[in-house]
Subunit: 118 residues, 2 copies
Amino acid sequence: MEMLLGQFLRDQREHLQKKDKKYSLRQVAARMGINAAYLSRIERGEPLHLSEEKAIALARDLSIDADVMLALNGKISKDVQEIIKKRPQLFAELIRNLKEMPDNAILRIVRVERDGNW
Amino acid sequence: MEMLLGQFLRDQREHLQKKDKKYSLRQVAARMGINAAYLSRIERGEPLHLSEEKAIALARDLSIDADVMLALNGKISKDVQEIIKKRPQLFAELIRNLKEMPDNAILRIVRVERDGNW
DNA sequence: GACAATGTTTACTGTTTAGTATACACTAAA
DNA sequence: TTTAGTGTATACTAAACAGTAAACATTGTC
């Protein structure tokens, strides 16, 4: 469930690499500011973790959604964490209640909130 | 914003201790399975962190809401984290959208979801 | 006054996190 | 054919995390 990160990154990187050789493991690693060996181990599925900063840099480079990247990397964005920690009871209850809800029901809430129709 | 944990715990523990001497620092620490020295340092405001397990044990012992306890301890419950990580885009967007919403508006969503009126 | 229990301080510990540096084997290009 | 670039394996590391053990001064109880 989490080990998918490696293969996912490799697939995405190699896909980009076919069209542009700047997506070699070494060059991607260099752009995101880490050692190539470390990225290699992650792509090979070793249970390692990138810092939020590096994970986001990698997501940008490979055109992956940052929240998805973080989740595959076993984390949740700090800004989202901070929102929850300010009202922990409220948000914990909300999230637990939404656990089994289908996406479209949750999306409806997102939309209603964004449009402010309350 | 986070340093409040120590004073909060001390207040709550001393409050209970007035009515029942089993709420001494040493005895509470013993019941939750940690060293008294560590709990002392936390209550004094040193920037230390309890594991989720110990934090929840302490919350139980002192009749504090577990999610509040975890938040003061700088964390979010693993079960809540897992829910978010399964649908990271969806939940991240939802939470960011609810950031500025007042409690009662969020409570309304919680209640609607729980009652299943969709 | 003795003894137990309280909270505190200091120094130390093993584990995890988030990496680096170096050397290696392989392939592609000049 | 040497040279540049690719991914990989191994060994190492500094800092943070989550504590423990022991000694200490203070307060409460018999």
